[in-house]
Symmetry: C2
Subunit: 139 residues, 2 copies
């Protein structure tokens, strides 16, 4: 994997240089909302990422400090991937994508319910969820 050079100083462009692809945010989503934390967990996701792509995305996310690679407490064969403050800060973006998608697509009922909750008091939802996610990185 090559480190892309920044295309410009634009904040949107710089952000897309990091997570502007079809897979990175899905891995973050899995870590945020589905409590996934291992290579095997991510492989099991509905979208069926290829093994080499997963490996390359994990590496790029780590290089960009969106995830950390740690020893798994259960076993040395496993690797534990963990969110960072930087990736937890992506939550507002991810919430807004949900809200946009809910307006313009058909969304499964359970997720729709969660989005409805989030919309009721966006700031509160983000605060609460952020606090929960932070717990995992401060222990």
């Amino acid at each position: 994997m090559k480190k892309d050079k920044k295309r410009s100083e634009c904040p949107i462009s710089c952000s897309l240089d990091i997570f502007g692809d079809k897979w990175s945010l899905l891995i973050i989503r899995d870590m945020m909302f589905a409590n996934k934390s291992t290579y095997g967990d991510f492989l099991k996701s509905e979208e069926k990422i290829a093994t080499n792509i997963l490996a390359s995305r994990l590496q790029s996310l780590e290089e960009n400090k969106l995830i950390e690679k740690l020893e798994h407490p259960d076993s040395k064969a496993k690797v534990l991937y963990r969110l960072t403050q930087k990736s937890i800060d992506l939550l507002p973006i991810i919430v807004e994508i949900h809200i946009w998608a809910e307006k313009h697509f058909d969304i499964p009922a359970d997720i729709k319910a969660m989005i409805k909750e989030a919309k009721k008091d966006k700031d509160e939802f983000i605060k609460t969820t952020t606090r929960q996610l932070k717990k995992q990185i401060t222990t």
Copy 2:
């Protein structure tokens, strides 16, 4: 250009299927904040998109109803691209990306100032900006 099939029903995945690439949101950005509206305008952007990629992205954005292709009032040689309600609805996402980027990167001072304004009263900023963008599509 092939129409990708949805990878899953997940709202994040569906959204990324549409704008999860390095260029689509930059075109939207140019239309939202730099008043760009023609093929030539987009080519002039700092990030230097290749001509064929620009053509393919414009086609995909049009297929996904994020932009509309119209006759240019000035000349038949030109084409006017215009935002839709669906793409104007992306504004909250784009604002949150700005805010995230401002926290984690060095950003040019002028853009930083705009982000500061947006953060002061996010809802108001989005409302005002949305109203301005809508003006362009209702006339």
